[in-house]
Amino acid sequence: MTDDMAAIFREELRDLLESLERGLLDLKARPDDMGLVNQVFRDLHTVKGSGAMFGFTDLAAFIHEFETGFDRIRSGAIPVGAEIVRLALAAKDEIPGLVDGLPDPDGRRPAILAALRGLMTGVAPAVEVEAVMAGSDAATAEGRRLLFRLIGPSLAMGARPEIVLDELRGLGATDIQADITEVPSLDRLDSEQCHIGWTMTVPAEVTEAQVEEVFLFTDAEWTLASHAADDMGARADAVEAVVTEAVIETLAAVPMAAPSAAAKPIASREDRGETPAPQAGATIRVPAERLDALMDAVGELVIVEARLTELARQNRDPALMTTAEQITRLAAGLRDATMTMRMVPLRSLVGRFRRLVLDLSDSLGKPIEFAVLGEDTELDKTVIEKLADPLVHILRNAIDHGMETQDERAASDKGRMGLIELSAQHAGAEVLIRVRDDGRGINPDRIRAKAVAQGMISADAQLTENQIFALIFEPGFSTAEAVTELSGRGVGMDVVRRTIESLRGSIEVESKLGQGTSVTLRLPLTLAIIEGLLIEVAGERYTLPMASVQEIVELPADKVMPKRSGDFLDIRGRFVPFLRLRTLFEGAGEAPAEQNVVIVMSGENRVGIVVDRIIGTNQTVIKQMSKLHAGVRAVSGATILGDGSVALILDVAHLVSMGRVPGEPNPATREVAA
């Protein structure tokens, strides 16, 4: 096996395990859903099958027992229980270790299998006995006829029919005959295929499961039937219930001498047709690095395109300008296509959250219903990757601290079952991700008292409820008694906020005491390229993300001269604070007579930004700022303009927060609002 193939398998395995985990978790909630049982069975089967094909025999053997177990659930022999789901989840966690060949020093794997067998035998013995009884009844002492045939390019894959035959002899097979009716003439002989089939008589006490064991690592079709022809129909049903991976046909239905070689592979493919395989033709897998490289190249292209447009404009050559326009259009199309490729649905994260909620709910003894809305909402893959940890943290907080115990809930007229809802939705160029719980809520008075005690705000600071909640994101806030309230374990919500802000997003908390808390993350759709509004202040150019720009107005004549305090604009009857970028950035020179105000919005808040001149909109390839500039919070990144110079991208959320508390001299409050 080459490394490439192993890589493909691992790739497939990751998806399969995700699907498996999702299926198991759903199954726990809806144990009667046979569709889910089938899905889990299929996933197990595919893991086993591909594992065996790629040489992971330990894995295949390990999964085999679970597959058998779920097959029994499928046939209704045993019901779905919480215990088998728990075991299957534990087994699923072992799979990556098995694939990587990691040892199992604690003996977890044997323990899981032992527990599984216990479950199976605990419920199933009656069925087992029945099956054996039925078998001996119908087949009498004569035994049953077994037919098998290797399918596909089995010889090329290294199948060894003689070993299979030896194993069957070990089961007591006698009267072994080769069936050479399928062997074609020499010129059509395919050396990769095994054209010979075999028939034999196996003792009546040999079960289907034992035969299946023999064919575990061999792609084969086999049928097991008794000699008694009038018994055929009934037997076929019984066999089908147990053996589903091979094509089932009774000897009566298809004469042994004429098993159509062409029909069989098709049938077998149909049988597996419910696996994700049919999508393979429409989708291709690309390593993430290649997409990153493509995105980088597109980013460079957009910069060069801006340069070309600039040159064409100066040159005034109509032919050049037309070409530049075409390039612009093509570059925009390429950019959109590339960004779409990088979009990943939130669903890829949700599996792990369900697991987290399930585990926490079990270990804390708080029954919780976990609802997910909008899991198809897509975000740039970089954003999704970085989102996992903050969301885990938020969910953990919600369950650990936000959610009451069962008793408390009962006392406060709430349902015994707590609700945690994770929702995602698009809102313009942003995605809103919200974690809502119906727990005890946050008490603003306690947060406030805590912040005053820690000297973060002055005792008489005027703060809105939102500003108070924002305090929990301050470094060092999550200590001592706050542990019982919302955050915990020292590493606090400040880490969450930092991560979200590094994604150019923002975070907000709303809470109603006694009714619950909701934490909302606002995230940009992409990190790579945005539409920007290029502005100029004191001869320097800056870019504002277009998505945050609400409108542009002229600075009224009576506002040109800065006042000492209370600079507000009246935008259709609403007061909007504004910032003078020239003053803020200590720009040189005098402001021009006519200035513009760009009204930007972040969250629910607006602020006006006074600039000298609006230059226009442009495609902005976002470049990260160096760590040497990490402390400059008014700047979220930089971009390269058509003339090769660098323009800084302004952090709207930070600017808005600066405008939110106008004339407030207390820097702590300003910090809080951020």
């Binding site: 700022m625 040497l628 400059v632 390269i640």
Partner: protein, 162 residues
């Protein structure tokens, strides 16, 4: 890089540059390229040590003024001014930074034995920012401890307002 770290190597290849009237030497291994002056974009609120950024072949690279970090008086600059692009360790990660040089002189190999630790008294340079010095053909040549300088710049508190 400390002076002890240099000792095991017998020779060190350095690039010498001028900052004001002072000559400095930077290990040649750190140097990525030397560029003619570029348009510098000021970063408001970033302070005097790393006042701006430049476009180095499509990357946005911070431009540091080592004169500020090493307390070397500014004597103005002329046509010999260059930008040196360096690969440094910044808080444990490789990073590209640019520094202003009033002139770039030469690439030369020095004997590590001639590098001396800084005298403990009577000099204006911040001791933690210098690896050592040696006597060149035209006076003292300083070996700045670039890893230390940039890591300090990256972690120092910045203006709270911006």
């Amino acid at each position: 890089m400390n002076i002890q770290d240099l000792r095991p190597e017998k020779h060190l290849t350095v690039v010498t540059l001028a900052l004001g009237t002072q000559t400095l030497a930077v290990p040649a291994g750190m140097l990525r390229e030397i560029l003619d002056p570029l348009p510098v974009t000021r970063v408001p609120g970033a302070g005097a040590f790393v006042p701006g950024v430049v476009n180095v072949r499509g990357s946005v690279v911070p431009l540091a003024d080592l004169k500020q970090a090493l307390s070397i008086p500014d004597e103005g600059h002329d046509h010999r001014q260059r930008i040196m692009v360096l690969e440094v360790q910044l808080l444990g990660e490789a990073a590209t930074v640019a520094i202003q040089a009033d002139a770039v002189h030469e690439v030369t190999t020095i004997d590590t034995a001639v590098i001396e630790a800084l005298p403990t008294t009577a000099h204006a340079w911040p001791p933690e920012f210098l690896t050592g010095l040696y006597r060149g053909s035209a006076g003292f040549v300083l070996l700045p401890n670039l890893t230390q300088i940039f890591s300090t710049l990256a972690t120092r508190p910045q203006a709270a307002a911006l």
